[in-house]
Symmetry: C2
Subunit: 360 residues, 2 copies
Amino acid sequence: MDVAAVLDEFTRRDWQVSDGDAGPLRMAVVGLGWWTREEAIPAIADSELCETTVAVSRTREKACEVAAEFDGVERGLSGEEFHDGAATDVYDAVYVATPNATHLEYVQSAADFGKAVLCEKPMEASVERASRMVGAAEEAGVTLMIAYRMHTEPAVRRVRDLLRAGLLGDPVTVHGHMSQPLLSMIPDPDQWRLDPDLAGPGASVTDIGLYPLNTARFLLEADPIAVQASVDSTSDAFADVPDERAAFTLEFPQGVFATCTASQHASQSSHIELIGTEGRARIGPAFFASEPRQVTVASGETTVDVDFEGVDQMREEFDYFADCVFTDRAPEGDGDHGLTDMRIVEAIYEAGERGERVEL
Amino acid sequence: MDVAAVLDEFTRRDWQVSDGDAGPLRMAVVGLGWWTREEAIPAIADSELCETTVAVSRTREKACEVAAEFDGVERGLSGEEFHDGAATDVYDAVYVATPNATHLEYVQSAADFGKAVLCEKPMEASVERASRMVGAAEEAGVTLMIAYRMHTEPAVRRVRDLLRAGLLGDPVTVHGHMSQPLLSMIPDPDQWRLDPDLAGPGASVTDIGLYPLNTARFLLEADPIAVQASVDSTSDAFADVPDERAAFTLEFPQGVFATCTASQHASQSSHIELIGTEGRARIGPAFFASEPRQVTVASGETTVDVDFEGVDQMREEFDYFADCVFTDRAPEGDGDHGLTDMRIVEAIYEAGERGERVEL
């Protein structure tokens, strides 16, 4: 196996088991912020295996307004109506994209109705609530997937393939970074991402630091055993959160260190790079949905800049979710996988506060 | 000032004050390993302001052998002869490139003879010995420069210019990495770089982690106030040192975090990237003398891959040293600058051992 063979058919859906006949999986989308309207619903419309049939928002009015905007969305529901079991006959699964601290109740209701769930990350605002979410899905016997769109990003999958094929040697270190100018993107100082009651313990690690963190776990197919962290909030707008900026090191088994940074107050930038004993691979830009991905691979004496056509990460994610539901298999990013991230994130904040290595 | 204006005349010697008339500075090179023979002496031969007139090695025999190999080298001396003051009339300055723990005595002798000194990094094996070196140079009133070749690397200087011009906004975070397969390069398990008595407290941070560390300081024009670190030695060959691999975070003032990794047991790889509030700049490859440098700059909406002709870093370094000597000014990488690195390195090993943040 050589690099070219691994990178051939770069965007292949090596994860797809079902054929198109199984679908569509009818989705209720819960939480109608810009991400759902501009990214998720269009991605579902473009997907092979899903369609949106229900839109859920805090108010019925907004839900109906959004429902009317998109073809095929049959119903608009308030959160209360959703919890009361309205329209359960017109959807099969639920996508939850509300503020972090409000995920649990939606997932609980969905599980009670026997619906599969795709829940945005971070899965909740605390380990305790995330555990209850996993329990609710298990008890009801429904699929719970956490929306890690990098798991079906071809650039990430191909780098993992290179690693699995031994073409980078043993992994030695990972560098990952994600930053964005949050207050330029959403010029509202009272937004939920900066409100610990809605967002959870922080702003940068939870919301975007999770990308390098989780992608490192995915590439290495391992979980960290300890973390160290530095966090800082200097600007007034970030006074309520500990991490306007953060740097953290994940210590994986065999002394593999993944060193990651994140900031909600920096220019948009993202990358992940894995260095092994025999080569390295870099994806950059890596994590923003709308950016073209670039991949550079060095294996032995050869360095390759890979050209490939980017895919809609959200479309791939929704189809992967539906494929798992149709074939009754657990997604790689299942509830337990998400819960591990929650524990790591909690340890990062603890390490940052104490200035000490925290074991997991 | 825009990006193009800053990057214009990319390789300009903005540091040069003297004209060519001042030279040449006649160098005694001490320590004749592969680095001196293959990189340093040819670079001096190619320099504008320096020439090699004396070669010093442990044995007179080897010194004379190397002296005979190169045009213009008048004398070969044993270390003992050098310390005894032989041939002080045929050299003006001394380049010290012996194993770390043996630098001090050569610098002391050179200072006693009133010679300027360019000493390889890390400057010594301990903070205590490095302090004595600074004291010796100060007492004798001679120039002491530590051989940070990134200080005159145009890629690094131009990125600092961009930062100074505000084109990247305020710095937020730095990522830096350097790794190489030491035992493939020098297949000797008993080499001095793996011997704490000769190398100092470790193998990766001291020898190559110093590149991202020092370049972060140089770019940010600031010194870290605290460090955290993870170190690991798994392979048998690295049993005597703590850091076959290391990851460390330097906490600079204003919450700027530089997160760095280094390994002597990984594929050759190096990069440094600075992310600011308004842009970012990446140099990669960054730190190996023989690799072509690549620079990518993003400022606002514009991303530029910079094409430029690489320079011989060692030649630039020697000419900078000579220029400082001729104009009687302290180099940016003077003894105190190097001593700060030594203190940071010592703190990194302490932090790695204790699993705790160490303040500087």
